[in-house]
Symmetry: C2
Amino acid sequence: MQTSTATTASIMAFQSLVNEIHDLNATQALLGWDLETYMPEKGSPMRAKQMATLAKLAHNMMTSPEMEEHLRHLRQSGIPEKLDTMSQALVREVGRVYDKSRKTPLELLQEMVETTAEAHKIWVEARANKQFKQFEPVLRKIISLNQRFAEAQGYEDSPYDALLDEYEPGLTVKQLDPLFVKLKSEIVPLLKAIQNSDHTPDTSFLFDGFFPAEKQLQFSRQVLTDMGFDFEAGRLDLSAHPFSSGSSSLDVRLTTRIDEHDVFSALSSSMHEGGHGMYEQGVNPALNRTPLAEGTSLGIHESQSRMWENQVGRSRAFWLHYFSSLQETFPELKRVTLDQFYHAINRVRPSYIRVEADEVTYNLHILMRYEIEKALIEGDMRVDEVPDAWATKAQEYLGITPTNDAEGCLQDIHWSHGSFGYFPTYTLGNLYSAQFFNTAKKQIDGLESKIAQGNLQSLKSWLNREIHWVGKMETAGTIVQRVTGEPLNAQYFVDYLWTKYGEIFKISR
Amino acid sequence: MQTSTATTASIMAFQSLVNEIHDLNATQALLGWDLETYMPEKGSPMRAKQMATLAKLAHNMMTSPEMEEHLRHLRQSGIPEKLDTMSQALVREVGRVYDKSRKTPLELLQEMVETTAEAHKIWVEARANKQFKQFEPVLRKIISLNQRFAEAQGYEDSPYDALLDEYEPGLTVKQLDPLFVKLKSEIVPLLKAIQNSDHTPDTSFLFDGFFPAEKQLQFSRQVLTDMGFDFEAGRLDLSAHPFSSGSSSLDVRLTTRIDEHDVFSALSSSMHEGGHGMYEQGVNPALNRTPLAEGTSLGIHESQSRMWENQVGRSRAFWLHYFSSLQETFPELKRVTLDQFYHAINRVRPSYIRVEADEVTYNLHILMRYEIEKALIEGDMRVDEVPDAWATKAQEYLGITPTNDAEGCLQDIHWSHGSFGYFPTYTLGNLYSAQFFNTAKKQIDGLESKIAQGNLQSLKSWLNREIHWVGKMETAGTIVQRVTGEPLNAQYFVDYLWTKYGEIFKISR
């Protein structure tokens, strides 16, 4: 098949427009990174203006008559099949985003921007005062805006589906409900069994000592290098909250946060962000300057970070190799055995705060949020009912009740940003990571012994080849099916938890 | 007088367009800073694309039909007088740039971009090989493009005027010629007198020791803080070549370069860049997000950097205060007296390389370049004559002859960038700085004793008030007239040199 001259011209102009939009987005990412790392403090009002201008220009280009014309031509019946696969994927992905942009009334977007700018300030204050009541009115407005957004986008079963689609394209309540039912039915008993076991790992030595920032950073950099993070195409810096920000496969910025009285958390978040960063670095460079160079979905992105953070970074195999060099770096740890350390970093304890949660309880935190968000968006819960619902669910799933709203429903920043439908992607990441890692163990000969010898590159190469390289050319669903031979299946994660924690706490199902 | 509704609407839309263009330029500046400081090395091809996209969008907005329409309306007879002074200045300055953009054929711009991208690579290679012949063909093309550019812009006397105007608006050969004649006639004899004096300051201790980077950086930061550089609105980092880059008065980035076997040069370039940076920080914040927030011209900008680098940083008064703390920081200097140090940092010695030149010989380097550039652009010199012309002038003004082209006409990057007419702004900076400093001494009670007590803020406040605050609301000519009561006058610089170096070398006119 031959493409016509008109099609060739159109696809070239289309790609060039997409490249320019992506340049603006990549620049935006750098401005955001700079804001969190090196920007002098007085720079923030100007930075906000610059970011708003870039966002506006990118939006204008995305919804421009040229874009409309290119997509109209390139989506005509018979045309897409004549394109190469990358162009096909580009037309599909850009078309998807274009359609969503066009469905969203501009005044709704603007109202959302204004409301959330205000909401963020209110949330900060309400959290400081531990008073959900202060946040309630603006949260009510945010929910109503999200409902309007869902109506504008359209959905099949639940308005919450339209919100999920923003973060995990194609994900629905119909798919999520059984996953969470499964998790609840398996993890709540696991947690009870752990709590009833005789073993309570000592974690005091993780915090008992002075672990200089420079040494921690150096250790993190060494592990990231061993993992295969390319420091010629990336960096690791410090920021108040760890994050990963990529503008292309050739420039990926990670950050971590260091507490000099905590030997493990900076390393753990470095490995987490390294997983995100290596995903971006691993995408086919031919996809750079297009949205295809990004991770295919937040859930798949999170699977990469969680795999390195947990399946690797909290595994006995990893520490078989790294514990002695950690002890060399921080001699305080010389009095601690490998098993004591391994158990300490895998302690399980229900806690109020999601971001401090262990692997076992983490998804119960997400479950609570999922149920509450869905009920709010579907109109089955009033906003003033949130604190009570939170307390009830925390008691039911975690066995604890927050003593105030800051420990409860005010702890997360997400709602103040207007983000509803985001939380479930954290759980998807955990589930995907276990399923992928299970396949990796089957396909990489002696993976765990390799890790125990400090060879992290065989896992990295496998991830590069199986998951990273395609970027957004394939959807999350296609990738998980191709790589693991089946759709997302929560059983792998449940089995992973039971096996690992069964061994540590000497319990069984 | 009242502005009409149409004018009010137009000025608001005009300002908003100008703001957005400036946001793109400010973002561009940050991308450039990042490129030189923290960008991982593989990031450069993508960075080039991002910068090209931002430049293209800014250019498109600058030459858009909206801009044309706003300027047409706002420049109509009777309208400008009705605007506030800031809007008047904005219309004038944006109009000036718009007119220049409109006069430049797009294909000429593109040819310049392509030619200089190529030329830069050729120049790097030719310089490494010390072969001007290799650079000659592309330099010929660059000169011809500059000539075409000058013809497109138009000029009164010399095509070189149109090039000067790019860097120092309004500057002409007619103004420059007598300045350089004066400098030549005064500095060549001064240099000879210095060379004939019995005194040759010892400089060996400046390079004899190990001066750790961290300590040098800390010393530079302390001096910058004392000068009044606001580290809450700026930073100091390291890069291969020192520079200053501002995106608003609230975010100014300086860089320096450290040689651990050189105790003075990093501090000196920090003070130089600090002078640039404090200019940008000192502009009225109401001018942010407009081109009026930038320095009014390269010459005035350079006057600020040279004043802090030389009039302050190479003065005995400054070191009366700072020498003991430098000795504390670098104990190697404890065996050196204040006078030995002061003389060492003011040694005068003709050298091949401009960027290593002292205050006395520096402008002779610029003079050579000015004469050669002007002759090339005016068609009075062939490109193949450059090396000989260079050798002749170096011998005549400096008394030395380069042994190869890398020490001679290939040393500077500027021509490979296509920049003709830029060099004279360095000399203007030196002249302005002496003239301004002379006025400062008259207007600030006991300025030199203040400096000798470590009080640098009185000079800084004076510069803020007299020069910085107006930004580009006034032209260079207006500022120098307002501040010093007369137009640019080279006598102040000549007197400054004779006084200072007369004392050091015990010579007189």
